[in-house]
Symmetry: C2
Subunit: 342 residues, 2 copies
DNA sequence: CTGAAAGCGCTTACAG
DNA sequence: CTGAAAGCGCTTACAG
């Protein structure tokens, strides 16, 4: 493998000049630059990133912590991040970490604390203070996309507002018996994504003077997946008395599961049951699901842009440093919701 | 950030000894080792991987090239790989690359050819000879999981056999009018996964003395996704004459799309239409889909084990160096297939 | 605009 | 079993 010394020799300059010519940092005569670049191209020289980071302290590598790869939202975000990072010349090191625990500690203490990443992006993870501190102590930016991260910059939709929007859509249709398929753990973790959606639902119901309707007090927790939604909806809808006429599901995948459960139970949709979700899943259109869309791929791109700014990669583009505007959402009405049966 | 010199000073030894004590390579008195480790722990020392790779040439990092993150099979594989790599102490650098093109060239020539990864895993990608050569020229192992990779070790299920198994299941049920929803590009790329599945189908039909049935000659290409399967199945099933009584779909997601299309067209399942897929998707059970299961998470783990062997990370465990046994599959019969209507 | 020198933080022969 | 020295491949002040 050719090293920079080989390029220098071939171009008849010093290694210092070769380095400057190739990196574009510092003054080099136009003619010299061309000669160096030609030499580098000729022998297929590629700088060793390890050697470079050793002296610059920059690795051109970002660590991404994400609890799932195989859920629609997370997969989309990851793709968006990957694409944006790649085109900024950065590598993405993936840490697929579910809940807190020894494994996650190990990643933060050992993998992320090393000098191998310039910044950390946490997607949909509820970070502990200690985790944030481990990274910031190393003077590395850490950005949360969704989830929670005490003391770190955070990008997210307004989950509470999204939930209210979905709920109010059902209320406007005249539903009074509305249940919520909440994310698992939403009761315990009020500030988590699931918790915020649950609060948004409860607030809107409350404001309308209504209590959640159906089995288990009208709020059933479900794993945020299609099978999770299916199982929870069977409990909710299979109960003899007291069936709700509408369901607000914490995510589209949960909503799909609920649709499947309704089908299984012979409940006609939407005439006997309306369902609304959150996400804008790629299958939502096909299944006619009304949902509050968000745009995870774009969110990933925006998050990368923010990180690049934190890393000083972009000259100040006038964008405010602290932009706490929530990310974009939009209610898309389809055939899964209709007016309440009378 | 503490460096190895700090540890050495604190322990009262040289940097060389500190290095040996921490890495476990070379002789160090038991007592010395303990002192060094205590010192390292006390100041929270973590070795700089960049500095280490500069001299060892090893990065403890594997590059993974994968065309999708958000398709079930690929997401599962990626999770499996990530977990296995992490527990082997390796990082995973993700390259989410779809079809060949300038972007992919850039990744191979620039990102992967640098000294930043020790090995490359390509999941479900059809690699060009040049791509394989770029990596092997740098003396790095490259392993293909699915897809094709001229001249590189490869792990895969027997796609042709899996397709035959699915097809023969339908034949045994008495179906004679069978169509295939093939993967996009399966006609052009005979050695690709989609191509092999298509061949397996055609061979089994041929052996049974049957021709594919239905619109477009009984073989319709579909994007390997639920919406892709839906669109293709509408073409196949919506055609007035000549409807098949059974469909072999190139993947479970395509099969789900076909089920949805049948539902939309009012075709009763399975009495009027049987459907079988390939994958063992997490939703297959819920939707009662008969399928030839494969185990992508486990495949990822197996692939990592193989790569570790290629990297000399594991002492010879007696496993053969060249094991071309296909990966495991299994036919799981559910309610989506039944005997042919008469 | 260019070059010689130092140094980033490690590991590895080589002596002892 | 341990240490001094060299060196991995770069970049960055510092002179000139």
């Amino acid at each position: 493998m050719p090293a920079i010394g080989d390029v220098a020799r071939l171009a008849g300059v010093s290694k210092a000049t070769a380095s400057r010519a190739l990196s574009g940092r510092g003054y080099v005569a136009e003619d010299t630059r061309r000669r160096v670049q030609a030499a580098a191209a000729r022998i297929g020289y590629i700088a060793s990133p390890d050697a470079a980071s050793l002296v610059t302290g920059r690795t051109k590598n970002v660590g991404v912590v994400i609890p799932f790869v195989n859920r629609w939202f997370f997969g989309e975000v990851l793709e968006g991040i990957e694409r944006a990072l790649l085109s900024a010349g950065y590598d993405l090191t993936l840490y697929n970490l579910a809940q807190a625990g020894p494994e996650r500690d190990r990643v933060f203490d050992f993998f992320l604390a090393r000098k191998r990443v310039d910044a950390v992006m946490a997607v949909g993870v509820d970070l502990t203070e200690r985790e944030v501190e481990v990274i910031t102590r190393r003077a590395k930016p850490i950005l949360a996309l969704g989830g929670t991260a005490p003391g770190a910059p955070r990008l997210a939709i307004d989950d509470r507002a999204a939930a209210s929007l979905a709920t109010e859509h059902l209320l406007k249709l005249g539903h009074t018996r509305i249940a919520h398929l909440a994310g698992a753990g939403s009761g315990a973790a009020a500030r988590s994504v699931q918790g915020l959606r649950r609060s948004g639902f409860l607030e809107s119901m409350d404001a309308a003077g209504l209590a959640p309707a159906g089995n288990s007090g009208g709020v059933v927790e479900a794993e945020m997946s299609l099978p999770g939604g299916y199982a929870a909806a069977l409990q909710l809808l299979g109960h003899p008395g007291d069936r709700p006429t509408a369901i607000f599901a914490a995510s589209d995948e949960v909503a799909f599961g609920a649709m499947r459960a309704a089908e299984r139970l012979g409940i006609a949709m939407p005439s006997q049951l309306s369902i609304v979700g959150i996400d804008g899943h790629e299958y939502a259109e096909l299944f006619g699901l009304t949902t509050v869309e968000q745009y995870p791929g774009e969110q990933g791109r925006i998050a990368v842009a923010r990180v690049m700014r934190l890393l000083g990669e972009v000259s100040d583009d006038g964008a405010p440093e602290h932009d706490d505007t929530p990310l974009k959402t939009r209610l898309v009405v389809r055939s899964s919701t209709t007016s309440a049966p009378r």
